[in-house]
């Protein structure tokens, strides 16, 4: 096996596993073997597309597997997650076809639009042939009742079931994966696994929506701690209706569809700025979603980061700017409750030149800006700039608050000398979520700091790391460049024109991150 192979695959897994990219790849043709058995044709497809992750013998131990969490499926052990069958039973062919079509969102497992349905069936026949279980058993789809319908009342009733069934033990009170047992969860290989963040349903392995969620309750996700509730249903501890209410409640925890991504974060102008991280005034400020993916450009790389996205909101009043950044992170690092998790991550994930540290580490958030408002679409290198074009940073540390800094490359940040431009931050962690509010006067005299002017698109990029997963020194999750634009007081034209110009020339970079992120984010979400 060539030395770079694991890299290639891992990078592929992290970046290219987007539907878009698979589509443009030349489709695999196994012509000339038309007379062969399904299984043989399937094996040829497997060798080309699957074995680098799933391994030569199908045991889930391909050359890049140790960069991934969760690891690729072991087809010999045949513990399948996305089924319509009872806990412990095998998946049906339809179940496997669904996974082949959609992939497992939130993990490295992509969908396969490049394969025809026949090719998918062949490769399914092959992976089934790897396990003796398929010869012994024929899977049967579980009987399911009809959805009595959703709505706010169903969701409210479902919340009570969520409490009664103690889903919070793993998923946390508000569903963000921060339950009291979350730090100790293991998959069947004894590797660390996250309890899914239920507020991000677009990353559910089995798809979003009450129907898919309801199926997961009945079947459980075999090979993971997520149990089946079929027996509780049969024992009368919950009713059919209860489980549908629960499904509607879980669905109500997140958006109905994957959030849109816009390249511009608009900063509203208001008379008064909202206050701290919990000020209700933030509720009326539009939030922009920015997806993040693992930093896999420079060592130490992170293929399975904790943070998969941030929500950005901003308000200014002509003299001062307030930005609130909100993201989910089940640990308030350094968090003794999660020490065990950090130790296990360090023992599990590929270290990439630098050992994954096990000492207590903070959570970090970096906002990168250029040091000066750029001409045109020029932007610094997205990994904290370089010697030629350094970046101006807002660097927030979960225990020390925010400082302004300057960086010319990853890991080369230096705090600004003086008091800087008057950046202040207040933060709150609650139930698996950070909410950080930054405030700064728009103008600055400070050398190396950036002045914010109204109506001018200013590049911004985000970097977040979770100390309790050993993320520090470049390990973490990063976005591509976005823009913040401060809304001017009167002339709309002055505001809109530069935006349009920018969008027309607009980078596709954002979409690449976005697309890759959907398939790749693999920190146990799933």
């Amino acid at each position: 096996m060539g030395l770079q192979t694991p890299w290639l695959i891992a990078v592929l897994a992290a970046l290219l596993a987007s539907r878009r990219c698979w589509l443009v790849m030349p489709a695999l043709l196994v012509a000339g073997q038309a007379a062969a058995q399904d299984v043989e044709r399937g094996e040829a497809i497997y060798r080309t597309w699957c074995q680098d992750c799933h391994g030569e013998d199908g045991k889930g131990d391909g050359p890049a597997a140790d960069r991934m969490l969760p690891r690729p499926r072991d087809f010999v052990a045949a513990r399948y997650q996305i089924r319509t069958t009872a806990s412990g039973a095998l998946p049906t062919d339809d179940d496997l076809m669904r996974v082949m079509g959609e992939g497992l969102p939130g993990t490295a497992m992509p969908g396969w639009p490049n394969l025809s349905d026949d090719e998918k069936r062949d490769v399914i026949a092959y992976i089934k042939s790897l396990s003796p279980f398929f010869e012994r058993e024929t899977p049967e789809t579980l009987q399911r009742s009809v959805d009595p319908g959703g709505g706010p009342e169903a969701a409210t009733a479902g919340r009570e079931i969520f409490e009664r069934l103690e889903c919070d033990r793993c998923h946390g009170r508000l569903g963000r994966g921060d339950g009291s047992s979350a730090a100790s969860l293991e998959d069947w290989r004894d590797l660390p696994i996250r309890a899914t963040d239920l507020t991000e349903p677009w990353l559910f392995n089995g798809g979003m929506g009450a129907d898919a969620i309801h199926t997961r309750f009945l079947t459980g996700l075999d090979g993971t701690p997520m149990p089946s509730n079929q027996d509780a249903l049969e024992a009368g501890i919950v009713t059919e209706q209860d489980l549908w209410h629960l499904a509607h409640y879980v669905a109500s925890l997140g958006p109905e569809r994957e959030p849109d991504v816009e390249e511009v974060v608009r900063i509203e102008r208001r008379e008064t700025l909202p206050g701290g991280p919990d000020d209700e005034a933030w509720e009326s400020v539009r939030a922009f979603y920015v997806p993040l993916i693992g930093q896999i450009v420079e060592a130490p790389r992170q293929f399975s980061p904790t943070v998969d996205g941030v929500w950005a909101q901003g308000v200014h009043n002509g003299s001062e700017l307030a930005l609130r950044i909100v993201w989910d992170d089940p640990s308030n690092s350094p968090d003794p409750e999660w020490q065990e998790w950090q130790d296990r991550i360090a023992a599990t994930l590929y270290a990439d030149e630098v050992e994954i540290p096990t000492d207590p580490l903070p959570d970090l958030l970096f906002l990168q800006f250029p040091s000066e408002v750029p001409e045109g679409r020029e932007r610094p290198y997205f990994l904290m700039g370089d010697g030629r074009d350094p970046v101006y940073l807002w660097l927030w540390h979960s225990r020390r608050g925010a400082v302004e800094a300057r960086a010319a490359g990853l890991g080369a940040a230096e705090a600004l000398d003086s008091a800087g431009s008057g950046l202040a931050a207040s933060a709150k962690w609650e139930a698996g979520q950070w909410r950080v509010v930054f405030r700064r006067p728009l103008a600055t005299e400070e050398d190396g700091a950036l002045g914010f002017a109204e109506g001018v698109p200013i590049p911004v990029a985000f970097f977040a790391s979770d100390g309790s997963s050993g993320e520090t020194g470049g390990r973490g999750a990063i976005s591509s460049w976005y823009y913040v634009v401060l809304q001017p007081p009167t002339s709309r034209a002055a505001f809109v024109a530069p935006l349009i110009a920018m969008l027309v020339t607009g980078g596709l970079g954002m979409f690449a991150v976005r697309r890759a992120q959907r398939s790749v984010h693999s920190e146990g979400r799933g």
């Binding site: 012994r136 701690p225 027996d231």
Partner: protein
């Protein structure tokens, strides 16, 4: 590592057994075969000639002391223990005798035994499994019950049988499952309470025992013959012994474990796949 050849061989044998009237698969919840089995005659063991293998499991040296379990998150459970609080059960040594060793006849039987209809119990009480080591026969019902007023999930992780993972969110809940293929041992865990562990041994015959608090065990009603007997401990590994049982004889057998064995013990169970690198 996962020994594929062996697994396939075992499964092949198991399939044969199944085809010859075993039936039922763990996890899939198959109930139907029970009726057929009831019809199948148990082999007749002549009480006049049957013998017994009995003995003790001795322990030499300093045993790993039981560890305190932090149940502070679960006061309802913690209250169930005395002043010394809950302790781990993986090593229980009393006066040089080791408890919780699974002893069974590994080779030498060529009889087919139908599954007994009586269920074997696995109870969850005060956030611990009772018993810690369970033995049962292929297709024999395993009745899992929850005596705690809180959520447990029962996550079984076999490699030759199908594993299941089910929730029991309420006191009094009972679930019945079975396993279709012999397997020593199947780990059981609760993901809500990381300290909870039990092990299930599944055999296609009734000659197995779990060493008691005084280290003793006994396997009665064995037809005379030569057997391979194995002892399994979750930390100290396995030992085997050849035993010949004469007509009507009680053969005393004792296994000795010592503290050093923990170092390079081979502990066969659900054989989790060890990944490379």
């Amino acid at each position: 590592m996962f020994d594929k050849t062996r697994t396939w061989a075992t499964v092949a044998v198991a399939c044969l057994a199944w085809a010859c009237g075993g039936g039922g698969d763990a996890g899939a919840g198959g109930e139907a075969p029970a009726v057929e089995e009831a019809a199948e005659a148990a082999p007749i063991i002549d009480p006049a000639t049957a013998g017994t293998i009995a003995g003790v499991i001795a322990f030499k040296g300093e045993a790993a002391a039981p560890q305190a379990i932090d149940m502070s998150e679960e006061p309802d459970c913690a209250d169930g223990y005395g002043s010394e609080g809950p302790l781990t059960q993986s090593v229980v040594v009393n006066d040089g005798r080791l408890a919780n060793v699974f002893v069974y006849v590994k080779e030498g039987l060529d009889l087919t035994f139908p599954a007994p209809p009586d269920p074997v119990l696995l109870n969850q009480e005060n956030c611990r499994y009772h018993p810690h080591i369970v033995g049962l026969q292929v297709d024999q019902p395993l009745q899992i019950s929850n005596s705690d007023p809180l959520l447990h999930n029962i996550n079984t992780q076999p490699s030759l049988n199908r594993g299941f993972n089910i929730s029991q969110p309420q006191a009094g809940m009972e679930t019945t499952r079975d396993f279709g293929v012999p397997e020593v041992m199947i780990p059981v865990k609760c993901d809500v309470h990381g300290w909870m562990r039990a092990y299930i041994g599944v055999l296609d015959h009734p000659y197995f025992a779990v060493s008691a608090a005084d280290g003793s065990f006994s396997m009665p009603k064995l037809p005379p013959g030569g057997y391979v007997v194995e002892a399994w401990h979750e930390l100290y590994g396995v030992q085997t012994m050849d035993v010949v049982v004469g007509e009507g004889e009680t053969v005393e057998v004792s296994f000795t474990y010592d503290a050093g064995m923990a170092e390079n013990a081979e502990v066969p169970l659900g054989e989790p796949l060890v990944l490379g690198h």
